[in-house]
Amino acid sequence: MHRLLSFTKKEFLHIFRDFRTLIILFGIPVAQIMIFGYVITTDIRDAQIAVVDQSHDEITARLIDQFDASEFFNITRYLNSPDEIGHVLRSGHIKQVLVFEPDFGTGLIRNGTASVAIITDASEPNTGRLLASYSEALVARFNQGLSKTNAMKIIPMVRMIYNPTLENEYMFVPGLITLILILICALMTSITITREKEFGTMEVLLVSPLRPIQIIIGKVAPYLVLAFVDVLLILAISNLFFGLPVKGSVALLLFESILYIGLSLSLGILISTVSQTMQQAIFISLIGLMLPSILLSGFIFPLENTPLFYRIVSLFMPPRWFIIIIKNIMLKGTGLKFVWKETLVLIAMTIVFISISAKKFKIRLE
């Protein structure tokens, strides 16, 4: 026991002595949470739009005012002719151009109809589609105002559940915890273990009085502690800076986190048993784990929209299950009743990974 303690202490010292390792352990979580919290927004407010008003009448002026007053649009340029549209949209910041035909006002009065062209920069399809549908809705509302018969108005009363003001944090904090844990636990443990192998010091450890299981525990224990500290850190920052609550039980959340940390550590051990050099371990962790946990967990990209094949692949990704658990507990405030299935999946995966690595771990010298 004493041996194990001093070995673990040595591992801790290794970590704390290297500022570059500390950057990964604490710099990345803090930087990521700040960037996601303060910089990245997926919602669209005040998109810059331009107007080509060839009609200059009272109705176009009113409609343009409506656009400018909307929280989604901000009219920043008036163009003189439709020929300028190409240049304006190509060179960047303007996302949409409204074009009123020359006889817009007279046509509306004489024929009862007139058309406005809404030209949207759709190079980013979501923004394009969203801006177009906001514009169409705005014109439709304007039409309702024009009609003399005020009868039969359907009023949709919209309410956002779980996240009433559509804050970004609700989406990214669970994803971030999932990502950081897998990064620290799997990548870092697999690197430290393969490092010993590559430098030949693993042989030294194996001939020492420490038993193989103690070596592994000593290597892994510091990361278990540090990963747990990171969970607390992320939760604290997201609560203090962004006011993100934990709606469900904190104890349950921490318990599930420890379970997931255990799973990630067992993955790290597994990676270290199959790779010979640090380069390989890094490559497997980054390409085999990091990328899938960003892409196939529903962290940034909603899973329901990926092709079927990848949805099947995602079933084997631990982050996918943990993210469901954590979203349920933190944001929806549901209890174990809603996440017991996912919890069982995590436990099963841990058992599988540990038994494979136990089988593969070589305690003999080659």
Binding site: I23, I28, G112, A114, N143
Partner: protein, 372 residues
Amino acid sequence: MQRLKYLLQKEFIQIRRNTFIARAIVMIPIAQMLVLVPVVTFDIRHIDLCVVDQDLSPLSRQLVTKLQGATFFRINKATFSLREAENAMDAGKADVILNIPDHFERNLIKSGAASLQVLINGINGSMAQTSMAYLSGVIMDFNRKIVMEHIALKPVVPSPQINPRTRYWFNPELDYKIYMAPGILAVLVTAIGFLLSGLNLVREKEMGTSEQINVTPVKKHEFILGKMIPFMIIGIVDLAFGLVLARLVYAMPFEGSLPLLFGFVLIFLISVMGLGLFLSMFANTQQQYLFICFFFMMIFNLMSGIFTPADSMPVWAQHVNLFNPAAYFIRVIRMIILKGAGFTDIWRDIVRLSLLAVSTTVFASLKYQKTI
């Protein structure tokens, strides 16, 4: 000049001999284009809708039928209890709940207005916004239709109508893949320039071979150039390879000028390689460099606007992005490929990025000491 030639020869031999790097250079663009691009999508295929029709009138049924026909909505569940619908949302089975209250039709006809309750899962903000926009579109359309039908019964002058005609430029099919493909390629080129060049220099340090070079007559700038040029070539070849793949697999258009793009990439590569070489001076082992590099690459890529529109970032972040080479690259590569932007559209970016490239390279050369 002669010395530089030999240095370059040595670098290429080393890269070719390292099977791992050599394989990665060929395989990664293929894997990225074929595997990543289809996954990295915000494309919304369908929204799971749960309908609570408490009115069960002809009008409410008509509305439900209309929603069934709408491409984006998939009615997953129909129930009479709001409680049950909310449970479905808790369990993740419904993104949107439409609650049609009792007396909906009666209120609409008698008092001229009726309300509908719409509950949207707001955890994913952008998806919630899109769902809201789609749903209000369908409801608005439905409203207009029933008003027309209603009016048709009575002889009233039709009210004036403005018809919006929407046109999607640069990506008329609203295809997410052709938007992400240039972005993913940009990440690849960044990784080559930033990671490989620095890693290579640290490797010399770790193996002790940089000391051997220090005692040769090789000049400082020759050494730095010798480290930059090979990865510059690899970066450009990989980009060209990726562009061809994207064109073949996803029919990605190429609107702009090829020389302009490659000229820009060259400036970009110089700026990230200078930065990579500069940062490599702070690491003694490849592992340490990887950690540092990983940290910076993560920040650069997240801030660059690859996933989220950079225009909606706060102003201070856009100022920070003036020093982020990846932000220029992500924006410009998409502008050139998708919008056909020309020199006049991007000259400001070219000037700024060139300044960045010059300063990082100068810093790297100043910091590099030919001493032991």
